[in-house]
């Protein structure tokens, strides 16, 4: 296994310890619940925004904790929803008089854990609302899942809700923003390789040397089809078309575009994809207001990428531009 790990069972707490060590002024780490919260804690005059999911998608979700982003987050084992109590404790640690928005990506385990945690917290009088994110267009109207998956679009929901909460908007307003972003954001991804969860030690799926999985999920779930690898432009076109036709986006739309790496793809390849997506978006008459090229929602060391488009209005544009701070430091 070509990985930097000690005991695979300790992989998640160890990397969380690293994040905490690296951000002593920004973050607090509670190992018992694999929870990271803002050092400054929640503010009773501001809505809290929390999230939590399986590990292996970093910088989602615990690396998105910080002013202007999440108030707190917890992580389960790699690709496994956090235990109910971790979710419950995260809600409690972040509870605010202004209320808490719980952002949940649409997966069976996550939904069940957060449902229970929310019921427990509400029973104690904690004011909250839950919102389900499902931006992945890969598998339509699936009969065998709980519906569309939540993937890289999650970043935009966090960013906008975090900024709105920071600006002092109330719980209903922050919820409405989550809804607006989710209704206007779509994503599709492609995988060139599988990843290897440390505890498993072997790839989660087999894929030929010349194959790619189009529409892959961030846990390696199958997408639309398996096919021969084509060139970067053809792949960018396929992702762009799938995303653009879904809502659909229209000429004249102001948009934010994200080309997200799944973990093992170098930034240069993401920019090759971005060049094409940018071109396609301009030809389609969209006005590209912001762009994001890098890693936002990964699948361990999987080679692959996803394309996300978000339709903007004045409100969302302002929220995206608002300042924020997270564990990621560039310089």
């Amino acid at each position: 296994m070509k990985k930097f790990v000690n005991d695979p069972a300790q992989f998640v707490p160890e990397f969380m310890q690293g994040i905490a060590d690296a951000n002593p002024d920004l973050l607090s780490f509670t190992p018992e619940f694999q929870m990271i919260t803002r050092k400054s804690g929640p503010s009773n005059s501001k809505v809290s925004v929390v999230q939590g999911s399986g590990s292996g998608h970093e910088p989602a979700h615990v690396m998105a904790v910080g002013p202007g982003l999440l108030t707190g987050a917890c992580q389960g084992a790699v690709f496994a929803a956090p235990p109910v109590d971790a979710c419950y404790e995260t809600i409690k640690a972040c509870a605010s008089d202004a209320g808490t928005l719980v952002l949940v990506n649409n997966y069976q385990g996550d939904r069940m854990s957060w449902d229970m945690a929310c019921e427990m917290a509400e029973a104690e009088g904690i004011k909250l609302k839950q919102f389900i994110i499902n931006d992945d267009v890969a598998v339509k109207d699936s009969t065998w899942t709980v519906g569309r998956r939540g993937v890289a679009g999650n970043f935009f929901v966090i960013k906008c809700c975090g900024a709105a909460a920071e600006a002092g908007q109330d719980l209903d307003a922050v919820y409405a923003i989550a809804d607006k972003v989710n209704n206007n954001v779509r994503t599709m991804g492609v995988a060139l390789t599988s990843c290897i969860p440390p505890a498993k030690g072997t790839p989660i799926f087999d894929i030929g040397d010349d194959e790619m999985e189009v529409g892959v999920g961030i846990h390696g779930e199958p997408g639309r089809r398996r096919e021969k690898i084509t060139n970067a432009d053809a792949i960018a076109d396929e992702l762009f078309d799938a995303v653009a036709q879904d809502i659909p986006f229209n000429s004249g739309d102001r948009v934010a575009i994200m080309v997200n790496g799944l973990g093992g793809t170098p930034i240069t390849e993401l920019y090759v994809l971005y060049a094409r997506v940018h071109d396609r978006a301009e030809k389609a008459g969209y006005k590209i207001v912001r762009n994001y090229v890098g890693e936002y929602c990964t699948s361990l060391e999987m080679a692959g990428a996803s394309v996300t488009i978000l339709r903007l209005d004045d409100e969302l544009e302002k929220l995206l531009a608002a300042p924020a701070e997270s564990a990621a430091r560039i310089f």
């Binding site: 399986g54 235990p83 109910v84 069940m112 779930e221 199958p222």
Partner: protein
Amino acid sequence: MAEISQGTIEQAIQTTAETVLRNELYFCDLDGLAGDGDFGNSLATGFRAIKNEWDGIDKSNIGAMLLKISMIVSKNVGGSSGPIWGTGFMKAAMLTRGKRAVTLPELTDMVGAAIEGIQARGGAQRGDKTLLDALLPIHETLQKHCEAGDTDLGAALKDCAEAADKAVDETRNLVAHRGRASQVGERSANTPDPGIVAIATILQDWCKHHGVERTPTAPEVAKATA
């Protein structure tokens, strides 16, 4: 035997802990066939905690005990198993508040409440290839025993084990529609569901503990109880 004492239920839970810990790796392997390979670990994490905290668990009555067990599961078990098993124990706890023993009809209702809770929690239906495909026939078997006025726990256990065992083979070729295994689509066909195998193995071990003779039919259950 007209009543099932709290002691019997305590023993059943301890037996379950042994079943689950003994099969930690095997249940992971089964989950690895179509799921993400963590089922054995997840469940074992929960029952290891139950075992460690056993002496301190409030045993003033069945309901209090099951509630505490539900809480231990909620604290320690991630993935889908946490909410599913936690909910099951919680619903059974709610029907047994203050009780020191239950009748077979009451036990049947406990299983029914657990099923309802799990269905409400995860939305799975019969045939979705989840542990509900073992729990539903178990519940029906118990109901039949109750209707027949049958009060022998051993006989009921044997039939329940039979029903769960059958569920392993009957669902083997289905495509999973819920949980992580559903995310591999067709790949989940021809693999047994680890949750169903776990339920059948637990019941087989309960039979053994009660001195009920029975040979498992599904190869996975045979392997897990060997």
